[in-house]
């Protein structure tokens, strides 16, 4: 059994920031990530981030990853294990890991879960044909491995990921035939949508895919208009010659470990699925287990980073670590989250969080 002070599960924006903050306060941190390198989704993000300077606005995602990784490299009290999957969090506080076929047990005093989210899929005829990808897979192929996935693509979903990946596909020389969006309005940031529109790519709202056509792989996609009950309207079909269909219809929190650990969970559409109850310091209903980022509700990477710092701070404070200015830092982080969530998009997030917030004495714990 390996003794560990703080175990951070997931080395994406939330986990990295949690590790940095907790280590800065003096605690020993183990960051575990199942991928071959840390950075999570940040390493595939070639666009500049929104937000303010404090969340590295105007810096590209992969550059933000590098900034965070450089900090981690310099901190002697952070240990990193990549290619390592956390298999379980048990009631006696033991966490089990798998690395290179070996089974490892660790006993952390506190845990920050920053496992992120996974892509939702979409049911339609022939959706198992080769050439049909999740948007994340396309991004991994292009931006991590430098592989062009195909030549002509239909993007399903005009949320931020669908819009951003469409733009990246065009940058890679792939023709985007169309973007379809089942809602009456574009879900992602309109600046992203405008960027793609002025390249001549149509965005069809109230449209979805009817079916994919092909024998060995995708050859065509049929899209059609939806009525007010989200049902396809016969006669509105358009046939597109594409070899790639890219699905980007939202994310759901990867919360299995939290379920297993016995955290109180609730289904909240505002936060995109089952998410843990948590207090203001991001501690779940299980003492010593903290959450940050998409696993606690799907949102932007900028808020995931701020949540990461907050969860890392809370976990370190839970173990008795503090800085001379912990209180001010905490106030600043809460203020950052507040301002990021102040707009129309954040309203929904705030509503979701309000309905699962644990009001407890723990709110004062970082002030100890």
């Amino acid at each position: 059994m390996k003794p560990v002070e703080i175990l951070v599960v997931g080395g994406g924006p939330a986990g990295l920031c949690a590790a940095i903050q907790a280590a800065e306060m003096g605690s020993k941190v183990l960051v575990v990530d199942r991928n071959r390198a840390l950075g999570g989704q940040l390493i595939k993000q070639t666009h500049m981030f929104f937000g303010s300077e404090k969340q590295y606005a105007s810096t590209r995602g992969f550059d933000i990853a590098q900034i965070l990784l450089d900090k981690i490299d310099q901190m002697e009290n952070i240990e990193v294990m990549t290619n390592t999957t956390v298999l379980g969090l048990f009631e006696d506080g033991v966490a089990t890991l798998e690395k290179d076929g070996k089974y490892i047990k660790v006993k952390p005093k506190a845990i920050v879960v920053g496992t992120g989210a996974s892509e939702k899929t979409l049911a339609f005829p022939n959706n198992d044909l080769p050439g049909i990808y999740g948007a994340g897979a396309v991004q991994t192929l292009m931006n991590e491995y430098g592989i062009k996935p195909g030549n002509k693509v239909l993007m399903i979903g005009a949320g931020n990921i669908g819009l951003i990946v469409s733009y990246q596909l065009m940058q890679a020389g792939v023709q985007v035939e169309a973007i379809v969006e089942a809602s009456p309005t574009i879900g992602g940031y309109l600046v992203h949508a405008s960027k793609i529109r002025r390249m001549g790519v149509p965005i069809y709202t109230k449209y979805s895919i009817k079916e994919a056509i092909g024998t060995e792989a995708v050859e065509k996609a049929v899209i059609w208009q939806l009525d007010d009950k989200w049902q396809g309207i016969s006669g509105t079909e358009k046939e597109l010659e594409v070899d790639i269909i890219c699905i980007s219809v939202g994310l759901s929190p990867l919360s299995e470990l939290l379920w297993q650990a016995g955290c109180e969970m609730k289904y909240l559409p505002e936060l995109s699925g089952y998410v843990p109850a948590r207090d203001e310091n991001l501690q779940t209903s299980v003492k010593g287990i903290f959450v940050a980022g998409d696993v606690s509700g799907v949102e932007e990477a900028s808020s995931a980073m701020v949540e990461g710092y907050l969860a890392g701070m809370s976990a370190a404070a839970y173990l008795g670590y503090s800085l001379y200015n912990t209180k001010e830092l905490r106030e600043d982080l809460l203020q950052q989250l507040n301002s990021l969530r102040h707009g129309p998009v954040g309203e929904r997030i705030n509503k979701g969080i309000a309905s699962i917030l644990i009001q407890s004495e723990a709110a004062a714990s970082t002030e100890a």
Partner: protein, 162 residues
């Protein structure tokens, strides 16, 4: 409608353009940010005080065109690529438009490209006047194009290879 097509309406566009009087004085910023999202790098980048500090980071940018000198620092700093600079005084017949352009290959000086509108449709020819791709621009090069003045408000992008 911008929300369903991604194309701003003429009313949207008119709302963010400075007065004819200001346009006639030389290069000026056009900030096509129409949605309340948490973002403020345009303010952080601005050295002349033309883009005001955000009271709420979700506010739309508040631009005082009279203070803008068209320096273009904000153009490559806007994460939404929503900013351009127009100089209607560039020449007798032509206006100069400075656009963020993140595609390869980059156009070359004096190359004639198509000027595209906000829906991606070609509206006129555009002559490339300058291409800046310095380290400070961090992979968002700025392409300056000259177009006939009547198209200055319509052109928002370029396409090569025709």
């Amino acid at each position: 409608m911008l929300e369903s097509t991604g194309i701003p309406t003429q009313q949207d566009i008119d709302g963010v353009f400075p007065s004819e009087e200001r346009m006639a004085k030389g290069p000026v910023v056009i900030v096509e940010c129409y949605q309340n999202i948490p973002c403020n790098p345009c303010y952080t980048a601005c050295n002349t005080g033309a883009i005001k500090e955000f009271v709420d980071i979700n506010d739309l940018p508040n631009v005082d065109h009279s203070l803008c000198n068209g320096c273009s620092l904000c153009v490559s700093n806007c994460p939404g690529l929503a900013i351009m600079v127009i100089d209607i005084t560039f020449s007798e017949e032509e206006a100069l438009i400075k656009l963020p352009y993140e595609f390869l290959p980059l156009p070359t000086v004096n190359q004639v490209v198509k000027g595209l509108d906000r829906g991606g449709q070609p509206v006129c020819d555009a002559r490339v006047v300058k291409v800046i791709n310095s380290k400070a621009l961090d992979k968002t090069p700025i392409v300056s194009i000259a177009v006939e003045k009547q198209y200055a408000k319509a052109v928002r992008n370029i396409r090569m290879g025709e």
